[in-house]
Symmetry: D3
Subunit: 145 residues, 6 copies
């Protein structure tokens, strides 16, 4: 049984994130979606975010949703994940993800599996959704349901 950890802030969980989970399940037996909570600035709506994601996957036993407060690599070991799952949207993402993957490998030996975001979703990001919302735009089409 191979389990992958898909960690992020998911604020909100977009159709891009959902696509990575779906495609991750073609490679791994189980995907754990986990929100890292910064204990210095706890987020009021974190349980809301968790609930929204749980609702999406309530009928899929291969997906679990969790919150964690430690280093990502420590949480991965705790849940016995064999790899970190990441979506790469752009070359700037690529560099960042690569340095993160190198650091995580150096810290704990864990592997990182990168999936290229589908091109038609590469402009969809949580920060775009938040920005649109602030201006009163309809974001239903960008958020996963």
């Amino acid at each position: 049984m191979r389990r992958a950890l898909f960690a992020g802030t998911f604020n909100p969980f977009t159709i891009g994130h959902a696509d990575i989970v779906k495609r991750g399940l073609e490679i791994f037996d189980e995907v754990v979606i986990a929100i890292g909570e910064n204990q210095d600035k706890p987020s009021a709506d974190i349980s809301e975010r968790v609930e929204a994601i749980r609702t999406i996957y309530k009928d899929d036993a291969r997906v679990r949703v969790a919150v964690y407060h430690s280093l990502t690599v420590d949480f991965a070991r705790e849940i016995d994940a064999c790899a970190l799952l990441r979506g790469v949207r752009s070359m700037t993402d690529f560099e960042y993800e690569r340095q993160l993957a190198d650091a995580n490998r150096a810290l704990s030996g864990i592997e990182t599996v990168a999936l290229f975001t589908r091109p038609e979703l590469s402009h969809v990001s949580s920060s775009l959704v938040r920005d649109l919302k602030k201006h009163g735009a309809d974001v239903f089409a960008f958020v996963a349901h």
Copy 2:
């Protein structure tokens, strides 16, 4: 008559911005320079910035200067612009601009026209000018007049 929207914060309006406007006028009949104002944190000096830019173009009827508070694509539709005009200074800019252009096309169908910044101006940015100013350096050569 084809009108382009050149939106930004222009804090300040540099010789790089002025070059994009000049070159945009070889392609479009009219360019509207517009400063997006964030209503959550209104900027004290926004009318100063508008006045500075208006002074530069006071003799060119093809250029207008405006302030807007909506999504950029909504303002573009309001002023009947057929395209967003953007300057691309670097590959990092390119990625950002591409995602923005994809998002704007998805939201409203509007086209984005990218002009490559002249190489000899590619290091000129508003943030460079602000940084130099903070240290008391002379920034006259970088700001449009």
Copy 3:
């Protein structure tokens, strides 16, 4: 009247190329699609390629198709184009296009207008189509008609 030159080898003319022409016509009044012929190694099928493109645009008076043997900037001047139209698919393309645009501006002062390829078409290239063909794959969906 503003005319743009869209130059390339178009071997073959893909749905990505057709998309750039369509979007270019929202900015320019006329687009001239032109195939540069290398006189050292003339291509047997160049008139076929020209005919295939002409067929696509036979009902659109805003599009013309031509062959040229000079420098691209010289041909642009000859047909009185105000800009070169280019599609940019990736960051590697971006760098190449930028250097080309800088060189062309240095040579003749002509402007280059870059449109970002739609993300869902960014993997479509003439070389991909040729490669698929060589292996007997069906390329109908990638070639413009």
Copy 4:
């Protein structure tokens, strides 16, 4: 049982390739290393290359070595692979791999899994090894054994 296809020319099979196979086996149950043979220019030494790779993995039942003549995606389907395994050494690689992955997904729906090359191996490539050999340098340390 999840099988991945690791396709390439492997001329020669470097320590960078071997590292991708080793790490791929932490994610997949089986990895098929396959050399695509171009039927237009058949390569005299292809069976030598296959033998060299088979020798490396002769004691590992999870790795098989093959030659194929079709499109990579067709061969993947033939051997019932759920994903293409790729190593990404650099941002230029990333762009190329992304377009290839998009094209392969469009052609057959297959997934591509990218692993970032370990940084200390990112300068190792088959072309570097061939170049060093041509100049009489010792390449033992770069070739997998």
Copy 5:
């Protein structure tokens, strides 16, 4: 005698920074490591940082450590440095460093010498170290001693 200025915040001074200094000394006769202090938000621990770096180089007369409050190019002139020494870890770094180097050359004519970070150190950054520390991880291996 050729002196280089290696300016940064060095919060903390990592093994990556130390590697650039060591390699810089193969090219320059002297390297001045200097921390730029932002007078608007003075940093309580700046003298601690300076002391930590001085301790590392206490036996190497070719390295000096300083604090400065002016523009980097002005400080370079003040200490009679012929070049700014920089480490480039990634393509995103490269773009930033290039614009900075162009700006600094435009301001004062000074040269910038970029050394590519050793690949096995390219994931080591001050912000990684700070992030690990915040989560209680052991960072001894990443900090220079």
Copy 6:
């Protein structure tokens, strides 16, 4: 005395190359410009190229011009150079140069010093000059004299 090796094909030696030599002399005491000759396909005009470069620097004792047939790092050791001098024009260049620098450091421990090409020269390359020449354009302004 610090000597740098500036190796290339220099076909032709452009104003961009000349700028790197000039700036390299602000860092190194001596620069050796060297053309690597591929013994498999010897180039008829290599002595012409050497003569053209020698003429440019005939009055500067700090610059020497040579031809070599070995690995670049072996030639560097032979002439007692402490570093390889390189110009980096773009991010694509950067990646290539970085892999080359890593390979050369792994092979012989030699350092590589990268200077960012001046932006106003970043479109000037030997291949551009050759391409312009083929079309009968005047290339005087791009070639070093």
